[in-house]
């Protein structure tokens, strides 16, 4: 390849989405990944729920716009992407949850998103296998599910089709304005550099004060054999938001997904401070117990594999997307925590617009790298 117009560091879903967006602007893109394959980081571990959430207006906006982009691309996906228009049911364990469901419904309705509150009977009809004590729920029919590694692979293939190139086994040790340095000491240059190296991305920047803005937050998953699925929707508990955003060092929440393969994917857990990839049995036990409590039929399904992954978490639950101040042509895209599959497409759109010197389709100020630093709610 002649000198590329842009180098993207990291071939996870976020790097892949950025690469495709830049390539569509007729830029020759070079994607670098340290691993012998692509999409092997958080993207290989995540559940692939294309989700709407509303922790903040800025989080909602990014999810919402991204979900629209996923829907637009859907007709082009190969079957391997396993897109499933299954919708999501958030279940309420008590009246407090049910109140939260109503609030969400109103919030979504005001922003043009379909959602319906389910009472106990309607929940039973929607998902008969769920525990009968559940008091109701919220159905969000527009949520979908994909298989993230295949989605990333497709985005990368689109990049290659537009003159892009993917280099594996290419570990980057530093990024700067106009150039990246590889582990073997060589340098590659391009006017535009996008650092999408996942949970370690900020460590590639020279300013050590930036490094702690993103912390790894470990998650566990388990998958069953193929069989007849117990559920039709992605199903999660409304308390998930408390668990996802709460201050606990470690938490588990009911979050179960039917796969198009007939398997059931069981999540999920959140844990700060753990950096090893081994399964933490105590966490796994709690996660499975919670899942069986709300979906009793799971108890008899056989698990074939368990694994872990790391989300790139930020203190204010918002990703870092945009230019690195003081470094001409250097951009960053990281910190997507548990939403990066969903928000990858929006992220790519924002970066491409910024590279073109245009204003993105949503206000990107909340994602700036130089926004005020929030306090971590846990150590």
């Amino acid at each position: 390849m002649k000198t590329p117009d842009a180098i993207v560091v990291g071939a996870g879903i976020v790097g892949a989405a950025c690469a495709r967006a830049l390539a569509r602007d007729d830029r020759r893109v070079l994607v670098l990944d340290a691993a012998p394959g692509t999409a092997g980081g958080a993207t290989a571990a995540g559940m692939g729920h294309i989700i709407i959430t509303d922790d903040s207006e800025a989080q909602f906006e990014l999810c919402h716009r991204s979900q629209q982009l996923w829907d637009e691309l859907a007709p082009e996906f190969p079957v391997g992407v396993q897109r499933d228009e299954c919708g999501c049911v958030w279940v309420a364990v008590d009246d407090e949850d049910l109140e939260a469901a109503q609030q969400k419904r109103d919030y979504y309705a005001a922003r043009g998103i379909r959602a319906e509150v389910l009472d106990q009977r309607q929940l039973r009809e929607a998902e008969p296998a769920l525990a009968h004590e559940l008091v109701g729920g919220l159905r969000v029919p527009g949520d979908t599910v994909v298989y993230p590694p295949a989605a990333a692979e497709w985005l990368l293939a689109e990049t290659e089709r537009r003159d892009g190139q993917i280099r594996r086994n290419a570990e980057v040790v530093a990024v700067a304005s106009g150039a990246v340095t590889l582990a073997d000491g060589s340098a590659l240059s391009a006017p535009i550099i996008v650092n999408a190296a996942g949970d370690r991305a900020l460590h590639l920047l020279p300013d050590p004060r930036l490094h702690d803005l993103v912390r790894p937050r470990k998650g566990h998953l388990a998958i069953t054999e193929r069989g007849r699925p117990l559920i039709r929707h992605q199903v999660a508990e409304l308390g998930y938001f408390r668990s996802a955003h709460g201050a606990n060092q470690s938490s588990v929440a009911f979050n179960v997904q039917p796969r198009t393969t007939g398997q059931t994917l069981i999540g999920s857990s959140r844990q700060f401070g753990a950096t090893h990839r081994a399964v933490d049995h105590g966490i796994l036990a709690r996660m499975l117990e919670r899942a069986m409590e709300l979906l009793p039929g799971l108890a008899d399904l056989r698990v074939i594999r368990t694994w872990t992954g790391f989300r790139a978490a930020t203190a204010d639950k918002l990703p870092y997307i945009g230019p690195v101040p003081g470094h001409e042509g250097l951009f960053v895209a990281t910190g997507h925590e548990g939403l990066g599959i969903t928000t990858s497409l929006g992220t790519g759109g924002i970066i491409a617009a910024q590279v073109r010197g245009e204003t993105p389709f949503i206000d990107a100020a909340p994602y700036r790298l130089d926004r005020p630093v929030a306090e971590w709610s846990v150590a």
Binding site: G80, A150, A299, D300
Partner: protein, 425 residues
Amino acid sequence: MLELRTDVTVVGAGPAGVAAAVEASESGARVVLVDDNPKSGGQIWRQGTGQPPAGAQPWLRRLASSTVEHLSGTAVVDVEGARSLFLRRPDGLARVHTGATVLATGSRERFLPFPGWTLPGVMGAGGAQALAKSGWPVRGTRIVVAGSGPLLLAVAHYLKGAGAQVTALVEQAPLGSLIGMAPRLMRHPRKLKQAMSLAAGIRGVRRLYSSWVEAAQGEDAVSSVTVRTPGGRHQIECELVACGFGLVPETRLARLCNAALAEENVQVDSLQRTDVEGLFAAGEITGVGGVDVALAEGRIAGLAAAGDVDAARALSRVRDREQRFAAALEAAFELSPELGALATDATVVCRCEDVTLGELRAYEDARDAKLKTRCGMGACQARMCGPAMRFIGGWKQDSIRPPLFPIETAALAEISAAQTSEAMQ
């Protein structure tokens, strides 16, 4: 969950495991012997309808008169270090706390894909033998036994004895390298005798060397195979193909315990110790070599695990001699690289997930291919396609995650809850 405490736990009740359990027990240790099969004896000694082979009898007798607690029908599904094993028993879960663990998990057959290998009627050589042993009728069936290794001889012999019409024994190794084994065989009179009696038993069976099944044909089931020989291709009609390309050490449990491997084998020192404290390994998981090496290694591992180091050391000469023979045997049956080129783009490699070789060609890395094609993600977790792709494409071994076997969510939760976790708050 049932909690057991013991000095030595042996996993696998084949020759290595039985020898380890017997020796450890006879030197005074409390021993638990775990095997997922309902019957002891492992692949080779397992009693079908008939009697166990003569070589097995003294060991099975010693086992029967020992204090070894033999848990059959029991699988190790997870571990917490090498001294705490979680077992799934027909009647529920159990955990054994043990001073030392001897892994003797043996080997399984290696399958190399060729066009038609997924047709009904094409099966593993060991699998075909096991079926026949369990009473499946093979009388009059035309069978091609193909692949590589001494196991083929035994399988052909057994099937013929059971009334099958073994139409060909197709060995990929050259006759010359097998004849090269003769001088060594002379120094092992018992093996020589055994080999001669096997050979006599299949007299009349057409034997082809430097040859292999290139493809199997048939509509609903196999009806013929194309065999490539140095002299050209032959079409052989058959109703069954029993085929295996040597054995692959079954190291999943060892890897779950974090034991170091050298190539495909668990690495051990002269006392059969792995690099994990309290963890020993014996038999085919340390290198495929047959019954005699397995017995010698099992005895040493059992004695060493029971703390009887001197007695263990005293056996090292026997083992070393058997290991030299096994190494020579392995070299003689070394697989031809051409076998890696039999599968075409349309040949299915991963049967669980229905992935063809053509789909895999785009990838150089096993994990990358797995993530993108689902190859190895199915219920068998790459036990079949993993070794095949290591041979065909030089791919790395996949990583092991609990559970070791598919297990009910409730059971996995129970096992996990029983384990301490540093991350627990």
